[in-house]
């Protein structure tokens, strides 16, 4: 009896062992799933409440007339009709597109030129001094900087017109003439933002193997030609990223025109986000503001999609 008991016990134990092992991974899986739920909850709930619901909410709100005080009235597509017939809204879209083209082009050009120049031979400490200088404006507040720039660009006592006086240029009405105001907003924006594209380009250039430059030099490619035929194609993925992010940011410009010109003179620097702000929070026309928001969203998505499509032809991945 005792003889048979032991193997039986052994058998029982050995059969229990895998049985004990089997639920352990599943207990672990359950633990893992529970942990995942806890870990994800703040982010997912937050994103749903503060991004997903508002996106749907924007579309829904754009179909209603609502001033927050009275109850909302269904308006069909009439908000969109009003918005499309509204001179200020149309001008703001035109301004934003003009701003985007000028600001992104200038930003990329300045950043690329500086990154390529910095890539040449120079002492390491000097390079890091320059790099820090060029991205320093990024850490400052766009609103405060615009306050500063408003003084610098002042027509009568601003330092910029004073400096231009030395080369015989008459005082420019930077902030008070329709044409100059947009240029000023672009300049102030680019001054603060070019460091972003610059850092991207510096990173992109560092990723290009040195041998490629040497090979190009051996083949006789030099200076500007080397950059055009060798560096730029290799940098094209970075260029795509810099322009996509640059465009998305530029389409949302607000602080600079709000502080520098408050959209003026006239409507010459009024941007789409300024119109959203004014319609909703100054005039309490929430439906119209939402309609403008939805249109801006569609515009951003369309421009981004177009850019990725175009890029398939021009971007070379290594």
């Amino acid at each position: 009896m005792t003889n048979t008991r032991i193997p039986a016990a052994r058998a029982a134990r050995s059969s229990a062992a895998p049985a004990q092992d089997a639920p352990r991974p599943s207990a672990r899986d359950r633990g893992s799933r529970l942990l995942a739920t806890l870990f994800l909850a703040p982010t997912i709930v937050g994103i749903v409440v503060f991004t997903v619901v508002p996106i749907v909410g924007s579309v829904v709100l754009s179909l209603f007339h609502w001033n927050v005080i009275d109850s909302p009235r269904y308006a069909g597509l009439s908000n969109y009709g009003e918005v499309f017939g509204d001179e200020t809204v149309l001008v703001s879209f035109r301004n934003t597109l003009v701003f985007m083209v000028l600001a992104v082009a200038l930003q990329l050009l300045v950043a690329l030129a500086l990154a390529l120049t910095l890539n040449g031979r120079m002492p390491v400490w000097l390079r890091s001094v320059f790099r820090s200088a060029f991205f320093f404006p990024l850490v400052l507040s766009a609103a405060s900087i615009s306050v500063v720039m408003k003084y610098l660009f002042n027509q009568d006592f601003g330092v910029i017109n004073w400096l231009l006086g030395f080369v015989g240029i008459a005082p420019v009405p930077w902030l008070t003439s329709q044409n100059a105001a947009m240029a000023t907003v672009v300049l102030v924006y680019v001054w603060q933002q070019f460091g972003f594209s610059f850092l991207l380009f510096v990173g992109g250039l560092n990723n290009i193997p040195k041998e490629i430059h040497e090979a190009a030099a051996l083949d006789g490619a030099t200076g500007l030609r080397k950059h055009l035929t060798v560096t730029l194609p290799l940098l094209s993925p970075t260029l795509l990223v810099a322009s996509v992010v640059g465009i998305i940011n530029a389409l949302q410009v607000f602080e600079q025109p709000y502080v520098l010109t408050n959209g003026g003179p006239g409507d010459s620097t009024r941007t789409v986000v300024m119109v959203i702000y004014e319609r909703a929070f100054e005039q309490l026309r929430f439906g119209e503001a939402s309609a403008v928001g939805v249109l801006l969203f569609v515009l951003i998505m369309a421009v981004t999609a177009l850019q990725f499509r175009l890029s398939r032809r021009f971007v070379h991945y290594q």
């Binding site: 799933r33 994800l40 937050g46 503060f50 709100l61 500086l114 320093f136 003084y151 502080v259």
Partner: protein, 290 residues
Amino acid sequence: MSRVSPLSQATLSLSRARHGLAPWARIAGLAVCALLTLGPVVWTVSTSLRTPAEAFDLPPRLIPSNPSTEAYRGVFDQIDVWLLALNSTLVTGLVAVGQMITAGLAGYAFARLEFRFKKPLFGLVLATMMVPLQVTIVPVFLVLKSMSLTDTLLGLIIPAFPTAFGTFLMRQYFLGMPKDLGEAAMLDGAGPWRTFRSVYAPLAAPGLAIVGVLAFNYHWNEFFRPLILETSGQNYTLPLGLVSLQGNLGTGSISVVLAGVVLSMIPAVAVFVVGQRPLREGITSVGVNR
């Protein structure tokens, strides 16, 4: 290779001599650009040290003839700088810490835990990275209003806790850590929580630093949301207070306004100096990830 390199060096220097810019010209050009970039900041600091009466004087001297802190006293007289700084610190600090927590946890879950709907949930996070806040601000305002969070600091803080970008960044960060570490801990009998807590979390500090520094930089300088949400002066943050100070004073006390700007810059500059590396990595990864 040993043959090619000196040759190519020679070719390079030859080509430089013929076509490229001379090194001194390059450096001089960069120096001019750096001067243009930093000029407005230097002007701000030096003008803030003039007396309000001399602020408009041209030429703008780099070092004021008789430096004065009158403008700084002026700021403290005219706006409650301490209150603004306290509000800004509370919002920025809590958002930065909150984002490090939410992004660290969610990033870890996406990188190292197994659960259902992982792909679609991650897709959701990625998709919302592209949605600009400015577009959804009207409904966000209404959501906060329904929670009675408008015109409170919490209304600025809570919606900023979830961060799609930070989550993505931390996921990449955890994915970059060797998987063996966790497996070894599991073999030693550590459960999922212990594995996270004692193996992976301690290694995450540099990644979290990037999330924290980016959050600080963004929210310290933030203007759009405070402008919309905070209506009473006691809830203003620094940028909001400064813009309204400038508006109230018109063009009268330029050095007072600039003194305020300088004060508000100090923490941002400190982070720039101390956290330049994570800041640069963070900014660059904004691009790499898209």
